[in-house]
Amino acid sequence: MKSFLLIFSGVLVLAVFSQAVAKDWSEIEKQANGQTVYFNAWGGSQTINEYIQWAARQVQKKHNVRVIHVKATDISDVVSRILVEKAADKKTNGSVDLMWINGENFKAMKENKLLYGPFSQKLPYYQLVDIENKKTLLYDFTTPVDNMESPWGMAQLVFSYDSKQVKKHPKNMLDLLAFARENPGRFTYPSIPGFHGTTFIKQVLHELIHDPEVLNQPVIQSDFEKNTQPLWDFLDALHPFLWRKAKVFPTSASQMVSLLNDNEIFISFSFNPNSVSNAIKNGELPNTIRTYIHTNGTIGNAHFVGIPFNSSARQGAMVFANFLLSPEAQARKADPTIWGDPTVLDTQKLVGRDKDLFDAVPKGIATLTPKELGQGLPEPHVSWVQALEKKWLETYSK
């Protein structure tokens, strides 16, 4: 009886709660009606731009919310602009209503109080998000998300190689070093500081450090040298065999794609397990490129959308963020022929039409299965980035 009562009251609370959410939400939708949302997001990929255009058309149709994609070259430009607005005490009518963000930029925005506040829990589709298994949805590069950004997609470091040139791909960093020795000049990584280059050295560190557990903690300066020595030894050994003997580094991960296509390098990497499949479909890469990850896993993280503190269209922004979480939008995004960005939803929770949507998503020609990809290694504590970048610059940038 007691337990029955407990369950009953639990159900009641849940029902009242979800009704309250629904009521709140319909209020938000009402206010969103007719708003214009300036969605600031990286605009370097036509594939992604087209997806955003599609999503914008949907919310226009369904909710009468107008979404304008402001194409940023680098989202930190946008963070800077919001910072300027804050400095100028511009509390409303900010230039940005929603932005694509994660990692260090999120941390910077959170620390400088540039975000609107917790909102993702209000989004109805947030209930489908797989927060149980995908820890990076709660800790963005170890910074607690606290509902201040809403999940959009998953990412994981994935290596790509030209199967025509490389018969057997490396399985760990030492293999990669051996590959570089045998094929001088056919591997490189983007310059540091920069997201992709830094991720690569984080991956190296993860694989070579004696105790990976320390990476979850803030950097302790006194132990930094000792802990990271295997990384610098590795890079010292690797650099003479890199592309251009490590005298030149590619400026970005984008340039790595061109280098792979030009046969300048044979092994590259990206942060989207489907990007190679998508690039093959687009003609950007030949169909001999395949992907792999290292045996002990690779670093994974997530990306989000956040609302700045001074947005005057935050209801519209929430409606759009909610739509981006819908099974319809997430399944389309996961399709490698469209974008191929892995979903943040728990597909096990889906039923009926929503489930069919995901079942219909084709597997990309060069995409690994979710099982092959595994869980993804956690990002090191965010303080490691600056320490690693500083040391790298001191050692290799002269």
């Binding site: 036509q46 087209e50 300027v84 400088n112 280098l259 690039a279």
Partner: protein, 567 residues
């Protein structure tokens, strides 16, 4: 003459616009460089940002590379331009240059850099032309050509891109001198053509060019887009490093960026002062050579080299554009294929569709800023002419000092400060602010392009017209301006193309509300799809080219039956 008396409003407006914005911008950068940026918690004035700047890993190399590439490029391009004029003035090559100059100038720096990069890279088009037949390479060789640590490829690209600019400015200034007579007299005295140029004409021409030369120096030192594509990467040149700091997620880097950009400004100022010293030195040391009376010339052997280099700049510019056209039609293209394996029009279809709105914004902003720029430029020049006639105070004379400020102060140094002020005044994100920010860069170039011809206009014509019809306005609009239609349209086209190319002002002032074709190009260029980049770069290139074509063709149609206007 009341119209002329009121004319001083033009220079006064222009001078205050330029002074206020740039000083305000500099101030907005000075404070953070002194550790003052309250919004992220820095309120104690100190020099720590400067210490951080000078102790940043690799900063010495970075500064050195910037100085090396900037100064070598400026010095190289000035020498090349002067020698080229001396050797080729009046010959067929020169006439060809006159015709081809406009389209060459209209190619945006970034588009050229992308094309040039793809041309000379080890996996680039030149290598593909000869591989594997001649070289045996089935894979691109691992050579450092692009992004070389010394910045050589950047230097060469800068020379190629600045050369036509200097030639254009020179062509404009030639009207100030009586070239034909000087050459005739010189030849009669037994000097060779090159000697007359180098000993007499160039020294007299130089004062008209000096500000443009300074602008070249400033540009070469602070260039960002070309440096990202072609410059060294670790460490990169100073301007690129500053941009990285500005964009670093760690906000405290903003202080470092502010200090760095002021230091860049300092480098520009010092370099220009050095250039002034060099002018003096040349004056002192070359005077004996100029007046030694010797008729033999040591420069003649250089002739073929200079021709070769002059044509080389054209060749590289042209081929860089061709390569963009090919990439824009590519589906798949791998090394060492000479041409793409599969072609497509898909990228064009996509690009044209999604670039319609940005193109419209670009057109309106460009037309508006060039039009206002034209009004201001003509107003100022009219005032100068009038002041000359009546020997009253010439306010436009001061303009020369201020007008070039936006070209001399690195954009990145003062635009961030301006953005801050606009946000405070709630004026960011408006089209009008965007247009005025473009005007800052449009007007100087228009002024450079127009002033020489405008001042050289034979005022006897207007005086005559005034005698017949005593209305200053009517004479101006019905006689003088129609007669000057060619240079006016040409400077309009230049102003328009400068507006089209603006990236940093559009981003900072437009608050993301306005996307122009250039912001689209830059954002798509941050991705990996060279085919899409090529499509956007070509669309971007088309706009100024159309305007130049209009500037060339329209006067021809308008005056098809006026023989005197055909020249």
């Amino acid at each position: 003459m009341s119209g002329q008396a009121k004319g001083r409003i033009f220079p006064v407006v222009v001078i205050s616009l330029f002074c206020i914005t740039i000083l305000a911008g500099l101030f907005g950068t000075l404070l953070p460089s002194l550790n003052y940026l309250p919004v992220i918690g820095y309120t104690r004035i100190s020099l720590s940002a400067w210490f951080d700047f000078f102790s940043y890993p690799g900063i010495q190399t970075s500064i050195f590379v910037t100085l090396f590439s900037g100064i070598t490029a400026s010095f190289g391009v000035v020498c090349l331009a002067f020698l080229f004029i001396s050797f080729s003035y009046g010959n067929a090559l020169w006439k060809f240059f006159e015709k081809i100059l406009a389209p060459v100038l209209s190619i945006p720096h970034a588009a050229f850099a992308i094309g040039f990069g793809f041309l000379i890279a080890p996996s680039g088009w030149l290598m593909r032309m000869v591989s594997p037949v001649l070289t045996g390479f089935t894979r691109p060789p691992d050579w450092i050509i692009l992004n070389d640590p010394a910045g050589l490829s950047l230097t060469i690209a800068l020379v190629i891109k600045e050369f036509p600019f200097l030639i254009m400015v020179t062509m404009g200034a030639l009207g100030q001198l009586d070239i034909k007579k000087t050459l005739l007299v010189g030849r009669a005295l037994g000097y060779s053509k090159e000697q007359i140029w180098l000993k007499i004409l160039i020294p007299r021409l130089y004062p008209h060019l000096r500000l443009s030369v300074f602008a070249v120096i400033a540009y070469s030192l602070s260039v960002v887009d070309m440096a990202i594509i072609l410059g060294p990467s670790s460490p990169s040149s100073l301007s690129v490093l500053i941009l990285k700091w500005f964009n670093d997620p760690d906000m405290s880097f903003k202080l470092l960026a502010a200090a760095g950009s002021l230091f860049l400004f300092f480098m520009v100022v010092v370099s220009i002062l050095c250039a002034c010293l060099m002018e003096r030195a040349v004056l002192v040391f070359l005077r004996p050579w100029i007046t030694n009376g010797k008729r033999c010339s040591f420069v003649s052997p250089l002739k073929s080299i200079i021709f070769f280099m002059g044509c080389g700049t054209l060749f590289f510019t042209a081929v860089s554009s061709v390569i963009l056209v090919i990439w824009s039609l590519t589906w798949q293209w791998r090394f060492p294929d000479f041409l793409p394996a599969t072609w497509t029009l898909k990228l064009w279809a996509k690009g044209l569709m999604s670039s319609f709105d940005p193109v419209m914004t670009t057109l309106f902003t460009g037309l508006a800023s060039a039009f206002i720029g034209l009004l201001l430029a003509i107003g100022c020049l009219e005032h100068e002419v009038a002041a000359g006639k009546t020997r009253t105070r010439n306010y436009t004379g001061y303009i020369h000092y201020f007008l070039y400020l936006p070209l001399l102060v690195p954009q990145i140094t003062f635009m961030a400060g301006i953005q801050f002020l606009l946000v405070i005044m709630n004026m960011d994100g408006y089209w009008i602010s965007l247009m005025v920010s473009h005007l800052l860069f449009v007007l100087p170039y228009m002024f450079i392009a127009l002033s020489a011809t405008y001042i050289a206009f034979d005022e006897r014509v207007t005086d005559q017209a005034m005698l017949l019809k005593r209305s200053y306005i009517k004479v101006l609009f019905r006689v003088k301006l129609p007669m000057l239609i060619k240079p006016i349209l040409f400077s309009f086209a230049i102003g328009f193309s400068v507006s089209v190319a603006q990236y940093i002002p559009t981003m900072l002032v437009g608050a993301g509300r306005f996307s122009t074709i250039t912001t689209e190009v830059v954002s798509i260029a941050s991705g990996s799809d060279r085919r899409a980049i090529a499509v956007y770069a070509l669309i971007q290139q088309c706009l100024p080219m159309m305007m130049y074509a209009f500037a060339i063709i329209f006067p021809k149609i308008l005056y098809y039956n006026r023989k005197g206007m055909q020249v």
